[in-house]
Symmetry: C2
Subunit: 215 residues, 2 copies
């Protein structure tokens, strides 16, 4: 398979495939001459993965490269792979260090064992700070309900990771961690709709509940 066919099967322009090759997101094909290379089905799958990470996953080129390096590195343990993948996911990236105390207080209440250096902890702290700055008070009860929901999701996630092949485990863990996030966000919005229809439909104009809310 040549580059134009790979591009066609992936549904992207040839120039974009070349760009991904240049950026190291796709491994080079098997060179058959100075200006020719052969690509296989593995490249097609990899291209689909790249598109998924960059699109729905919301990763930048640089972060995708790191995540893919983790997926490719057979020497990493599942734990290392998950940690690296988790660290490369988009987050607030604030230039000022957020106050970790509120986040740590929650974690202690829940008894969660986490690496104090993990970026997710900083992300949580920054997100809580942003809520406070916006005048939204997060009660312990609210946080606890969220923690329980997160625990359930994570539990299923971890159960889903196969334990027979380390390569597969890493791939599933990394891809699942990243690509299930938009699923969660979408599900929450849909659940909110359902819940708010049930709560507010009676007090608002009732017929808006099942038709388009805004014309």
């Amino acid at each position: 398979m040549r580059i134009s066919q790979l591009a066609e099967r992936g549904g992207v322009p040839v120039a974009t495939v070349k760009y991904y090759l240049r950026e190291g997101l796709l491994p080079p094909g098997r060179a058959t001459s100075a200006t020719q290379a052969e690509y296989g089905d593995a490249h097609v799958e990899r291209l689909a993965l790249v598109r998924a990470l960059l699109g729905p996953g919301g990763l930048t080129i640089a972060r995708a490269r790191t995540v893919l390096a983790v997926v490719d590195d057979d020497s990493l343990t599942v734990l290392d792979a998950l940690a690296t993948a988790s660290a490369e996911l988009p987050g607030p990236e604030a230039d000022v260090e957020p106050d970790l105390a509120p986040a740590l207080a929650h974690l202690e209440r829940w008894g969660w064992l986490v690496d104090p250096a993990t970026p997710a902890l900083r992300h949580l702290a920054a997100a809580l700070a942003a809520l406070e700055a916006a005048g939204f008070e997060v009660t312990d009860a609210h946080a606890d309900a969220y923690a329980e929901a997160a625990r359930r999701m994570a539990s299923v996630d971890v159960e889903t990771v196969p334990d027979d092949s380390r390569g597969d485990a890493v791939r599933v863990a990394v891809v699942g961690t990243i690509l299930l996030e938009p699923v969660i966000i979408a599900l929450r919005r849909l659940a909110q709709q359902d819940a708010s229809v049930r709560r507010f439909a009676a007090s608002d104009a009732g017929e808006q509940a099942t038709s388009r809310p805004q014309g």
Copy 2:
């Protein structure tokens, strides 16, 4: 309060405040002359909200403007406001229409009442398609667990919305919908860490569990 003081209290450069004014994210101050205007505490709070939406919320200027217009519009019902805010949140924005069937099948199984035109439905469908393209199979059991988690979170969210003041209700609903998303993502990653430490720490090198996983 003049513009430089507003900027200082918000922790942003004056040029940025001017930019937000130009873009309609901040309402203009009360003009006291041709080249002078007075800003109040409301502007400080608004500036914090804008920063929260643009930073942790991940909204673009254009989407933030729409969301803020919803918050400001007292004529909207809570349902309309939530729907509009939900629609403006960042999503896949695919140029090709994803297959809605798998997503609709899940929703029907759960008995959720949602507007078929809502962007979140499309986001869910796109996310599921991306997972499939990346070779990650989402089982019904996995999806069901996620749905239950989403339902719990949404339930708390909706309960949190006050029912005495419509303006407050809209503000809390919109801000909560947007700014709690990074909280959920961070919590899930932390919960994953906790769960995978418990599962994999025994089979991997054990001492990595509570120290930094990657030097």
